[in-house]
Symmetry: C2
Subunit: 212 residues, 2 copies
Amino acid sequence: MSKKISNTVIKRLPRYYRYLGDLLENDVVRISSNELSKRMDVTASQIRQDLNNFGGFGQQGYGYNVEYLYHEIGKILGLDRKYQVIIIGAGNLGQALGKYSDFERRGFIVKGIFDVSPSLVGQSIRGINIQDYSEIKDMIKSQNIDIAILTTPKHQTIQVATDLVTYGIKSIWNFAPIDLKLVLPKEINVENVHLLDSLMTLTYRCANPEKD
Amino acid sequence: MSKKISNTVIKRLPRYYRYLGDLLENDVVRISSNELSKRMDVTASQIRQDLNNFGGFGQQGYGYNVEYLYHEIGKILGLDRKYQVIIIGAGNLGQALGKYSDFERRGFIVKGIFDVSPSLVGQSIRGINIQDYSEIKDMIKSQNIDIAILTTPKHQTIQVATDLVTYGIKSIWNFAPIDLKLVLPKEINVENVHLLDSLMTLTYRCANPEKD
DNA sequence: TAGATTGTTAATCGATTAACAATC
DNA sequence: TAGATTGTTAATCGATTAACAATC
């Protein structure tokens, strides 16, 4: 299938998906790129260009059917299936993600939570036992884990990620302040959430307000 | 002071800051754009262009002094001061952020955590009492709060954000799946962390692996 | 001084926007 | 059919990379 989709486009897809989901909730049946562009504050041209990377989902003179487009983008994003995930690192963030029921609703099933700390192992998060890190290999092999969520301390993260890849993990959602992509084989999918980086762009704006 | 800095550049600054911090920890005294470019996997040209948006921090024939550049970027990012923050929404994520001590180390001081749920109000997170949402106005007025962290449910978020702005909040770190920027006055700083959006770019890559 | 490396200008590349013919 | 709106090509804009003179 055709040419490479640019990263900028891919990163916009979840936002389209979110807006279409809202429209669907509000029983909106059809929408034109122009109307959507006003709501989302992007150009209609960009919406049409973005969508046409994946196919012609609209109809001249009519616009887009909201429900159809929503589901099509969902398919493009891989949301037409469930994902088995594990969480590595049962600290504050790991526990919070484990408890976050929105993930489950979206088809992300937390099959295990792992840590090395004896004080955490054995505790239960939403009915999921925190297991010792040493058991992770078995879990990955036996349970067909799709995604590993990393909330490990910075300096252990590279080792953990390398292990996981050895055990067969193909996709990592990484919360540690490390650029894993640079140390893992390039076919491994890595998506980073760098919370402090995000917060720093906010403090940048505090320190450098727009002058108008 | 001079021309507008583009968003793409601003978003790269925390990453530079992170790498320089690592170098500093490892007692590296000087670094050239070329060497840094290899470590970070960006072009040396881009590093020099980015930095020169803010001034000439290097020296021909020598490169950049790591400690100096680290602190200069810190200042640009507004990290040369403390920030008083409050967290609104004491659910899993709000609590995790409240407990996250790395923020404190970076100068973000959690002055209060707020929720509407009677079962949460009165509980204590790292010595900080969860207060009823109705007390938020006083807190903002009396304590000079710089940043509000929003981990509220989707459908309450716009109302909460609007209130906060009325009470004087200028900067919002938003975890709710809503584009606040579109509903708030444009001088309010908003930085979003859309966790599900991020996860969806990962599932996109699961569903559409690179062919080589 | 000679070598190294920046700061900065110019060239290239990619992403966004505009325009419009195709078509429902 | 006439009006609306897409899909798509062409034009513009901005961001990245290359090149090199300035200079430490």
